[in-house]
Amino acid sequence: MFIEYTWLVPLVPMICFLLIGLIGRKTPEKGGYFAIAGALISFVIAALISYEYLTGDTYPNPVVESIQWFVIPGSTDFVINLGYYVDGLTCLMMLFASFISTLIFIYSIGYMGDQGERKNRYYAEVSLFLTGMLGLVVSSNFLEMFIFWEVMGLCSYLLIGFWSFRHPEGDAASANAASAAKKAFLVTRLGDVCLMAGLFILLGEFHSLDYSTLFDPANIAAVDSDMLTLAMFLIFGGVIGKSAQFPLHDWLPDAMAGPTTVSSLIHAATMVKAGVYLVARGYPLFIQNAEVMLFVGVIGGVTAFIAATMALNNMNIKKVLAYSTISQLGYMILALGAGGYLVALGMGMEGAEGAALITAGSAGMVAGCFHMMNHAFFKALLFMCSGSVIHAVGTEDMREMGGLGKHMKITSLTMLIGSLSIAGFPFFSGFWSKDLVLEIAMEAGHDGTVWFTVMWILAIITAFMTAFYMFRMWFMTFMGEEGHATQHCHGESPKTMTFPLIVLAVLAFGSGFLILFGLDAMVSFTVTPDAFIVGGGEAGGFHHFEHIFTSPYTYLTIVLALVGIGIAYLMYAKKTMNPGAFNKDGESWLYKALTKRWWFPDLYNQISWKLGYGVARGVNFIDRQIVDGTVNGLSGAVVGGGDALSKVQSGHVQDYSSIVLLGISVISVLFIVIAKVMGGI
């Protein structure tokens, strides 16, 4: 009975957006309450839908309902529908997206409290964003999904550029925000263009973009498999852009120019997950080709590693978190890629061996989605903690902090929980899911190709680096001597800010245990001869528990995490180890490469400058000098004399009737000649 109202989930925030946008101007203070109410209502509806769907047997899997939107005519029409699609993955996504949004909107009341009239704009934009995220999740076809995907991109652009004019910290900061917003939009646009190209192919091959048509094995078997492979590579291009994967990852650190709540909501918990979601949603198509999945996995592994390296020496608290977000997104993509690779291999084989590979591989989906959810909780928490710190000390530079633990007890404690979780400390949520990710990568290396073993090694090193840089951040911020910004600290943040922190801290610790209560069944992936089914699988329950603690590799990752934390402690809390000894006081080439972000920003600049502005200048020159020059030259030749242009500017039509007449006669003669020659008429 609730599931029929799934369309309300994205519609409620949309109404809030319109309300805030239209009438909010008069009462900027109230906008926040509208936004919170909208997010909360969406969450409640999502919860009711999920409850009904997951407990009832009356619904098919998935539940799809759609109406015809419009038709692209052709020999057989291409029908574009509009509707919703509910399965376990949808439920998972809409639950955590709306829940975290509610908390972040509450937090914003405190965090954005001093923004005056701008608050109105802020709440309108985040409500529109939530529409985009929830719409993306419930969409029933790729085109509808793409629309919401782009709406989110727009909101991301607007919110990164929230302070792109009249920045409280002055002009340089405004310029920085404006440029970061543009970069984010354009880099993701590159991915989106690829995605669009992929959609053209899918639409052309399947004559539809509905998930239910595209995920039907009979339809998949009927299309050209080479085109499908190309389409999936292109669609993954969109994922690379949106989920900030290598080599289009560089927009995300810059995106930290936006308010911290935005970083927390859009650039950590929800929007950047859209790419991961797209891979999970499109799994039936992605697994048709093992090469595609190998590519996906390798991109994920490389991203996880590269991003983690750049977090090692960054001094900006938000940027460290941004790199860690990229790195964790890499983990999710790696899990999906590795699992999908095994499934793809298994589908190509006959008999029990193939079935075993498919079963093994489908754990990748669970690992990816599980990590996605856990990451949403702990990364939202970490960002909001960093926001709380920034709110109190007024800087993002960790060198100016230090010793904040005494002043901000709740923030420091909740952030510690978040850090332990992401570092993979036993029993914290990140521990469970990260371990599943590593396991599936290793399995793909074992049963599949050695490339995944390489990715597994990268992922293990990344786990170590993660523990190190997270605790480097935590120790630099909360322990040690008081930095000079700490001395101006306002103390602990208001309750509207600490309340969401506490709630999220509980989840950041505990959400991992959800897998014992059937979370894996919700996002399981099953291959049958006539369908690909998401959700409704068998729950592993305590089997996971047993499995994790009997595997020797689990202990390897625990040890690595502890070593990482220990080194960070010695370097930044106890200060018995000097980090300068390792990087020649910042002079080593590696240190410089990391500070330069492996030269990616320079590369982007060079490419866009040369291919964009450089060519444009050339085109403009041709336009003015050659194309227009010919025109002006011709008219000059006709009236005689080089001063034609000045005559033209004199503006008397009569003078130029001669040009017109001459022109007509020339053309008429030409026409007659051509006609004679060709023998027509």
């Binding site: 291409f78 782009e150 004019f165 354009l186 639409l203």
Partner: protein, 501 residues
């Protein structure tokens, strides 16, 4: 229906134009009211046509020049192709009247020119007689010429002359094509009377030789393509737009450019399908060139309005591309793109044109950080730019995504998949120039290069005009079928005729 609505669509603005023309002296300030009333009546009439039960039944025909050798009639008709353009024309003229409420320089002439232009535009879009079509085509030129040369910027005379010569030469070439068709048709039918009616010429020409169709297609296509405009016959457009007053630019880009693409579909495709097939690859090559060249042109411009002018070249290239596919999907969405571009570009030219009055300059390097001082202006500019770069959910996306998809189908069928890369490149470039322009105009530190003390935000009347367009851009973006339901019957009729596949 007893009321001759189609004739009224021409007569009402004509009366309005004459009335405002003679409102000299003291009465000048009431010219806008009169113009507003007449254009509002026209819009109501256009809406009546739009919601008519049977559009075909509205057709009217009156004998005009009937001799033993020649027959010219005043025949008007509307169908799915023209009705959207008629609506767009009526709407934009009214919005321009509202927008220009503060025009103080000889407002009577300004409004007379506007309404005169409406007469011509309505005539072009409704004519069902080649001679009438040509006459109306010329009628649109003259008011536009005076609009630019009287109300334009510093280089207005140069721009106006350039506009006039370019489009006039083009229309003369077109005239040769029309005469060729009329005489050929007279010969084929053997009646000895040169009749210019669509209904006489089109069926007759279907029996003409391929060579004839190919040649005449080239002549007509040239005439229309210059109007659209396409590279390399486009250089009149940026100059005309840079110099034209805001209202003139809105009409020029919003509906006048569409005369070109309208002519291509209405005449080149309907009457000369063999010619279209012959020149298909040339049309596509020109379209791709315009799309990419126009987009690159945008990046290099420093004048905001000139940049938008180049973007029109790029987006009209998209229309041409859809037509060039000669498929049902391509033509349907090419027509949709004409409509979408009309709505969006009106916003763009209103906003960018306004920049000159409000801030004092349109040079992008001199601007910066305007969003702080002029939030409504920034909002409208952003919506316009986003719609134009094809943000899904706004109308521009539906003129872009399906057209490229139609082109994709075409290149797949012809084994030239790589050609799609030009379209994808243009999608990227479009986002690039708009975002870069916004970054430099609206955001960043507030400019100190110019004096902003007198800068003011969008006024109430301007706000109304823009808001109407924004609502329509969103409405057709969410529900494209509202416009497609008009276009699809027309295109499927074309398909039945075998013009498109």
């Amino acid at each position: 229906m007893d009321i001759p609505i189609l004739s009224l669509l021409i007569v009402v603005p004509l009366i309005g134009a004459i009335a405002t023309l003679f409102m000299g002296g003291e009465k000048q300030k009431y010219a806008k009211v009169v113009a507003g009333v007449f254009s509002a009546i026209t819009l109501v009439l256009a809406l009546l046509v739009l919601f008519a039960d049977d559009m075909g039944a509205l057709a009217e025909s009156y004998a005009w020049i009937q001799t033993s050798a020649i027959a010219i009639s005043f025949t008007l008709a509307v169908d799915g192709l023209s009705v959207l353009m008629v609506f767009l024309t009526a709407l934009l003229v009214l919005l321009v009247v509202i927008l220009s409420a503060e025009e103080e320089d000889r407002p009577n002439y300004f409004h007379a020119l506007l309404l005169a232009m409406e007469v011509g535009l309505m005539g072009v879009y409704m004519a069902a007689d080649y001679f009438l079509f040509y006459v109306m085509w010329e009628v649109t030129l003259i008011p536009m010429y005076f609009m630019i040369s009287w109300y334009g910027g510093p280089r207005r005379h140069y721009a106006a002359i350039k506009f006039f010569i370019y489009t006039h030469v083009a229309s003369l070439v077109m005239l040769i094509g029309i005469f060729a068709m009329a005489f050929e048709a007279a010969q084929i039918t053997g009646t000895g009377v040169v009749d210019f009616a669509f209904s006489v010429i089109n069926p007759a020409i279907a029996g003409a030789s391929e060579m004839f169709q190919v040649l005449v297609f080239a002549l007509l296509f040239f005439g229309f393509a210059v109007k659209m405009p396409v590279v390399p016959f486009h250089t009149w457009l940026p100059d005309a737009h840079t110099e034209a007053p805001t209202g003139g630019s809105v009409l020029l880009a919003g509906v006048m450019l569409k005369m070109g693409s309208y002519g291509i579909i209405r005449i080149c495709l309907e009457a000369l399908p063999l010619g279209a097939e012959y020149w298909q690859w040339v049309v596509i090559a020109i379209a791709l060139l315009s799309i990419v060249y126009g987009a690159y042109g945008c990046i290099a411009q420093t004048d905001l309005k000139k940049m938008v002018a180049f973007s029109s070249i790029s987006h009209m290239g998209m229309v041409m591309l859809g037509i060039g596919c000669l498929s049902e999907a391509g033509v349907t969405f090419a027509i949709f793109q004409m409509f979408a571009h009309g709505l969006i570009t009106a916003i763009l030219f209103m906003v960018c044109g306004m920049t000159g009055h409000k801030v004092g300059t349109r040079e992008i390097p001199l601007l910066g950080g305007l969003a702080g001082r002029m939030p409504m202006y920034a909002l409208f500019m952003m919506i316009g730019f986003m719609a134009s770069l094809g943000l899904p959910g706004l109308v521009g996306f539906w003129g872009e995504f399906p057209v490229i998809f139609a082109f994709y189908e075409f290149v797949i069928a012809n084994d030239a998949l790589w050609l799609i890369l030009f379209c994808l490149l243009s999608l990227m470039l479009t986002a690039g120039y708009y975002l870069w322009a916004m970054q430099r105009t609206l955001f960043g530190p507030e400019t100190t290069k110019i004096d902003l003390t007198h800068a003011h935000d969008v006024s109430k009347t301007e706000g109304i005009a823009l808001a109407v367009l924004v609502v329509l851009v969103a409405f057709f973006g969410v529900w494209p079928d509202a416009a497609l339901s008009f276009i699809e019957p027309y295109v499927s009729a074309l398909a039945n005729m075998g013009v498109v596949i």
